[in-house]
Symmetry: C2
Amino acid sequence: MNSKLQWLRNTMASLDLQGLIISNPTNIKYLTNIDAEGVLLLTRKENIYITDGRYIEQVHSILTLYDEIIVYNISDVSQEDNENFFMFCENVGFEENYVTYAKYKEFIRKYKINNLVETEHIIEKQRMIKDEEEISNLQKACEITDNCFDYLLIYIKPGMTEKQIANEIEEYYRQRTDGVSFDPIVVSGENTSKPHGVPTDRKILKNDIITIDMGCKVNGYCSDMTRTIFVGSVPEYIKPVYNLVLKNQVQTLEQMKDGVSTRLLSKMVENDFKLNGYDLIHSIGHGVGLDIHEAPYISYKADSQLRENMIVTDEPGIYIPGKFGVRIEDTVQITKFGCISLTKSEKNYIVI
Amino acid sequence: MNSKLQWLRNTMASLDLQGLIISNPTNIKYLTNIDAEGVLLLTRKENIYITDGRYIEQVHSILTLYDEIIVYNISDVSQEDNENFFMFCENVGFEENYVTYAKYKEFIRKYKINNLVETEHIIEKQRMIKDEEEISNLQKACEITDNCFDYLLIYIKPGMTEKQIANEIEEYYRQRTDGVSFDPIVVSGENTSKPHGVPTDRKILKNDIITIDMGCKVNGYCSDMTRTIFVGSVPEYIKPVYNLVLKNQVQTLEQMKDGVSTRLLSKMVENDFKLNGYDLIHSIGHGVGLDIHEAPYISYKADSQLRENMIVTDEPGIYIPGKFGVRIEDTVQITKFGCISLTKSEKNYIVI
């Protein structure tokens, strides 16, 4: 059986689950590499994927014998089959954070389940720790993101609009990867004060400040990087803020390793910002994988620990409303004794 | 109170609902015009929209006194407030087809609800019947779609790829509307045999057949139109199929009016296709509004009746695997005594 399904079955055993219904397409892609519409049933003895005529051919071309997944066309599955899948299963799990209430009731009816139980992100927790192949995809996505950034430093010229630069990023990624992992953020001048600004028709000026937040997907795996750059020169009044953000981004990176508390990391940045008169207004990082934002979340709200082979972002930022903002972000791999930044673009003052 | 909320409150009264929790963003946009993250609570006496700091300003700029909606910042809402919202409400409804099981349990806990009940698409059913303003937006979206089609007839030349044409459609709409209502389908040659084909790098040939399925959004409201066109000339072997699809598309249009059964409409096309040796492999239409696909659905599965001021598509198609396919689709407004096609592009053989 493929190792991700095997890992999941071990967790199921420890939770006294004899069956599991998986319907979140990202979780299905993670476990099986299947990118289709359907449902994955882990029964006592079998792994069953049920899809419809549109996808049967494609699904068969993806799976190997090693996966040990049986594929059914939904039109060949009788009500009797449905009732047999989870027979003799005491507890069957489902994804309570994905499945609608209507679907929940349908599962109980259709599969005749006695005890359909919540699983508290059982698969999302497993997804936090990446295997070799996943890390290789993430490395690739980060490398192409660094290349894209190098290209932008030559491409961007005063007079271009934010939208035009964002379109160029999309085009760059479209030609080399599965495309963007999220709509690129390109904001300039006073627009940089919005952490999640949307590119506008504002034109880049001489002596401007620009924040670029972007990433792509390689085999479904996402990269995420932010840099704040300058046109012509770095204004004196921005330097203290830039230096403070960079100092905290680097210090966080130096602290990140297996076993470290995510809340503590966040608190350290928050305290240093406060000491200097600024607020930390968003979380300083999040997991990256098949989803651009996934567990773990690095903020004062979430008390979890970093683990070896988690891939997370490190992205402190300071925003002065109506004036400007600075954010510096890398995608980072956690190791036993430290961490490796997968995005490697320059972080000291970047002037174009 | 705005008329859509008033209509909904009347329906609630008839269903013995004293409260309603609305979380589907499309339903919230429909009822309030708000495009933000938040939840709309209809309590015994008040309409309450709860959002967070990021959206407060924007929400206030959209609402008028006439809406009678009170806006709260979630950080100002205490647990006591939550428990008061639905006090004295016997039955509170929720959207069981949108809300996850986890959210359902959270609602019960947070708002201390005794009886949280399913509402069976209460708002989606209301959304089927469009008011004047909605129809005006839909007319506009259809008009721009006709214009885009006229433009394409001049733009498309042999040697261009399907992707290139699809990108041009996106660009055309981006400049004039809120953008596409779905990823345009541009398929050519044998690719036309796939009803939901994705544009490829295949180049348009002399004497090719091309199917284009496209639409845009105006103030959030969608258009949807398909034409199958020809390069150079119409091949003789395609003519009988084209004629059969067109005949059924026009006959369906002639039958559509207030009171007609959607199942009957579908059956008529299915029978005529069968008599000629072809299968009907997809539904012949669907409602169009804030969603590109919404109720009612026109197929043998769904037994509903058309009603005045429903906006639906009329889109029969025939597909010969590995060879070619033909689909002709209009967006149509149902009236008391017939229907009005909102897309008006030519439907007889179109040769470029």
